[in-house]
Symmetry: C2
Subunit: 454 residues, 2 copies
């Protein structure tokens, strides 16, 4: 029997708590969060704002009471302010403290700050916690226009939400196009689709940043570094997050170059009996074996589980490890899906002098089903491989067809170091309503193979 | 420059012809078929019968003229009756003959015959070639009832087509449930869904076979071995196919225990300069390394391609092989998808004393998306693994969610010999409209892992 204390209540924390209890019902579990609720789907917030999810309570996965029924002690409104690893104690803002045998840090991430004039104005929002979603939805209902700062996937999901609410939208992105983690020509395709298909005005501003926010008390607009002035009723900052690691660092826990807590494959930090999981950690990116920082709910859930298994069990029993990520992602704009995994071409070329790879890529555009079926979609499939070893390194798939599950197949291939030649004849299921006889994935692979043989 | 003769015009043949020409435009290509058209999607016929595909011409992928524009000589209505491997000649029913440098046999498959009384009656159909589809559609339009003999995936697709046309349906299957290649409890789920959701009467008869067909000139009904009499307006026999290999055998080409032509990984038969591809061949089933016979359009296309590459190129240039199949399949009944790959539990237990495996399985039922999203589906995921090595051997996924692409991911995992432990933390893309944070595939894998560790 152990006393396991978990800090953080969004994804990794609740997952870890439930798993710790399940592994050994005798374990004493305490779950602390600074928020006034736990275990909710932050990823669902854009769909609440859009109106697709009609009730915010639907995003709450399990309540304090649900956990307490299972014998897990939940402490809401407890913000952890200090860890004392020697005394094995944790301290909270409300002067409470607790001791632990094992500690799991799931302190998550915080929005990147924009330090410019007037960033304190009302009606400038982040989209991070439940309350943000509620606040933005309220503004959406009483507003006519919005500025989104940042052009990544949260911005994409918010764009759909705001289009559904007939807002005039300005997106300000410091890079030259949206979704800057993807390759530029793929991002351009997505942007063109959005501009073409939207019934409201969407104004994209690229290669520019906020110089200052305009307004007295309330947000009234932005001035950009290039001197543009955009007036709008409210603003959402969606420029990404950074790991929330202050208390960890103060306790002497090592963080990496990305700012995230360094963990091993058992989710152990540099200090004994302290584990970390989710958005507060940095991870090994499988295709390059380098440390990266990515904030994703899937990673948080998996790591919460692994941290629980390793902290709850006896050392010799442990048979589960977390061995890295591929950065697999999916998002959508109405019926247009954007999914990716592994290395982009861009990133592959940046890295090719540091890690030993010779990137080659193929891009094809194909129907996602037999050409004679109704409701056919079109997919653009881009594959990235290493000409030297033949291994598949990454993929980006966008379009009106089934992109994400195909990315799942590529993720399995990358995870298993499958080569182009091995993937070429992969036996994918086929029937006319589901794919073409030669799936777009394979057509793209054929093209890679031709380049390999040249 | 070579003269390459290809026999067969459905899937593998046209694929091989196009690829041969592409590899070397100087190659002289002759493509022979006994039918009066080439290159069509036989898999699309159920959707033509249902009315989803409004025009039979939509199923024709390329015409004789399309091929001839690319310099491929197409001979319709030429049934090959003899191969003379010594003289390197092929003979046809119309007394024509041709010589070859390389010959590719894509003679396909023929329906299994039911040798019972009155099997010559009118209005008893197979569903194999375009004309069958046209004939069955005509009958569907003027009929009120139908008997389908066989309960596999063609029967399932025809059931949907006939339900859409308000026919009363009887399905006669000699096994104890439909889709007999799947595990029984999965098949039962599919059957229950069909029975529950259909607005017309569907009468399933199991563990029984046709004793005789009833009728004078036209089909009027069947009498079963158990003495049941079923009257109906027409009948479709969907009991599967056998490889069409008579002329190959007569030429001395080796066939295997399954009846299919034996080919190596370059699609070479036992006789020099003769290749075979598609439904006329038998294949290596990757999970067991045994020979199996499966008739699937995806296999035909891939093999046609590999046969073309190997027959057209110079021996030393060849860098592509066909190394076996997983038996991946997908079909659907309205919004209910049925997909599978690799070994079933049933088959794994049958084999476990012949090949060294210790089968374990897990089955879970989960939402296919975040629980709060609209239009959510439910999937049943069954995984089969080898406790000895930890390798995933097979999967069956059925339900109202995205089953087939998830099967594609498992297919990649089996192809790459991924173990349960390696698959466990697979980085699959997640967003609420596409999956749950922990995809059903992973939930099923977690369960397998627990069984492995016991």
């Amino acid at each position: 029997m152990k006393k396991i204390v978990i800090i953080g209540g969004c994804a990794a924390g609740p997952k870890a708590a439930a798993k710790c209890k399940r592994i050994n019902p005798d374990n004493e579990i305490e779950l602390y969060t600074k928020e006034n609720l736990i275990s909710y789907s932050a990823c669902g917030l854009p769909y609440f704002i859009s109106g697709i999810v009609p009730n915010i309570n639907k995003l709450i996965i399990r309540t304090k009471e649900d956990f307490e029924k299972n014998g897990i002690n939940v402490f809401l409104n407890h913000e952890c302010i200090k860890i004392d690893p020697k005394a094995k104690k944790v301290f909270f803002q409300n002067e409470k403290e607790t001791s632990y045998d094992e500690l799991i840090l799931c302190t998550g991430s915080i929005p990147k700050k924009i330090n410019v004039k007037n960033s304190h104005l009302k009606n400038i929002f982040n989209l991070k916690v439940i309350q943000d979603g509620i606040d933005i939805k309220k503004m959406t209902e009483i507003s006519k226009s919005v500025v989104i700062i940042g052009g990544g996937y949260i911005a994409l999901e918010l764009t759909e939400a705001f289009v559904r609410n007939n807002l005039k939208i300005t997106v300000l992105e410091k890079n030259s196009t949206i979704m800057p983690l993807l390759d530029t020509e793929i991002s351009e395709k997505i942007k063109n689709y959005i501009v073409e298909k939207s019934h409201v005005e969407i104004n994209y501003i690229f290669n520019d940043e906020v110089e200052e926010f305009i307004g007295e008390e309330n947000f009234e607009g932005i001035k950009t570094k290039n001197g543009k002035i955009i007036n709008a009723d409210f603003c959402v900052i969606a420029t990404g997050v950074v790991p929330n690691t202050d208390i960890a660092k103060e306790a002497g826990i090592e963080t990496g170059t990305t700012g995230g807590i360094i963990v091993d494959n058992k989710m152990r930090t540099s200090i004994q009996n302290i584990y970390a999981a989710g958005d507060c950690t940095e991870n090994i990116f499988i295709p390059t074996k380098q440390s990266v920082y990515l904030s994703l709910g899937t990673i948080a859930n998996k790591q919460g589980r692994i941290a629980a298994i390793n902290s709850s069990g006896e050392e010799n029993d442990i048979k589960e490890y977390f061995d890295g990520i591929l950065g697999s992602m999916v998002t959508k704009y109405f019926d247009y899906t954007v999914a990716a995994t592994g290395l982009s071409e861009k990133r592959a070329y940046e890295l090719k002098n540091y890690i030993n790879i010779t990137p080659i890529t193929s891009t094809i555009e194909e129907y996602d089903k037999a050409g004679y079926m109704p409701q056919i979609g079109i997919l653009t499939v881009k594959l990235i491989a290493d000409k030297r070893t033949g291994e598949i390194l990454g993929a980006q798939i966008v379009g009106t067809g089934d992109a994400d599950k195909r990315i799942g197949t590529i993720a399995a291939a990358i995870r298993a170091n499958l080569t182009v030649s091995e993937f070429l004849n992969l036996d994918l299921p086929y029937a006319p309503p589901f794919s073409s006889t030669i799936d777009p994935l394979l057509t793209a692979t054929y093209k890679l193979k031709e380049m390999m043989d040249k």
